[in-house]
Amino acid sequence: MIMKKYFTAYINVVPAEYEKWFENLAAEGWHPTKINHLSSMVMCFKQTESKKYKYSIELLGKLRKDRIQSYKDFGWEYVGRMSSIFVWRKEYIDEKPEMFTDRDDVKKRSDRFIIAISFSFAIFLLTFITTIFIAILGLLSKINPDWFQIILGITLSGVLTLFLGLVIRKINKNKYK
């Protein structure tokens, strides 16, 4: 049995929440068939046996081979990557394993997500301000701009700026999780 989940990385924006989401599905027997660059939009799950997995989400520039080996030594399985988001999991019986056991490392992981999102946030904010500025110029001058494009630009960049701002706020609030 196959199940599809959509925009999971955009719904579960806090890394710890995303991990919990994967873990709950694994407990019900649902495991991702493959994780690749498109998985943040569509992810397929296959139902087999229920497993006690600890998932771990990490944002990395590139994955070095010695990191894979080191994690493997600790029993972590590399599940896949969605762009720069890397997914790992480890099966356990009693004590739930943690990828990061130092409070500062957990915060560092959250900070990396915040920095990456802040870049897109800044671009959309700049687009939003620029389109508003163009709209004001259009209203004050005799030039008749394409109002459909301007309104579309303001709406889209405004919504995305707001969404990303809320995501940053939520991750920041949960930075030690």
């Binding site: 771990s56 990490e58 081979k65 010695d66 990191r67 894979i68 080996q69 080191s70 994690y71 030594d73 600790f74 972590w76 394993p97 943690e98 990828m99 990061f100 056991t101 130092d102 500062d104 490392d105 560092k108 992981r109």
Partner: protein
């Protein structure tokens, strides 16, 4: 100069960093460090894979440890002279805290 930079960057050192650094008095890889720390602390500290990997990267960048061998994509590290010096300074600092606490409690 190097020692001053290392002091600024690493002192005071976290418990995790101290245990990783003292494990590397003998050559060891990441998983070996985790096992050693678990033994030394009688199971109290179980270092996570990510924490060990990141700490090793930070210590290597600060030249407190160095990679001495690579076996099957597994890096083996050892403490450097600078690392030993920093560890000794930490020992003195922690002993001072211990002595001061012992007099009060």
């Amino acid at each position: 100069m190097k020692i001053n930079k290392a002091r600024d960057r690493f002192i005071p050192m976290s418990e995790t960093m101290i245990y990783i650094l003292l494990s590397l008095i003998g050559d060891m890889h990441g998983y070996g460090i985790m096992q050693n720390v678990e033994n030394l602390t009688k199971g109290r500290i179980k270092l996570g894979a990510g924490t060990v990997y990141q700490s090793l990267g930070k210590l290597e960048k600060g030249e407190l440890i160095k990679c001495v061998k690579e076996e099957n994509r597994r890096k083996i590290y050892a403490i450097t002279q600078l690392g030993t010096q920093i560890l000794e300074e930490e020992r003195i600092r922690i002993k001072e805290i211990y002595d001061n606490l012992e007099g009060i409690l």
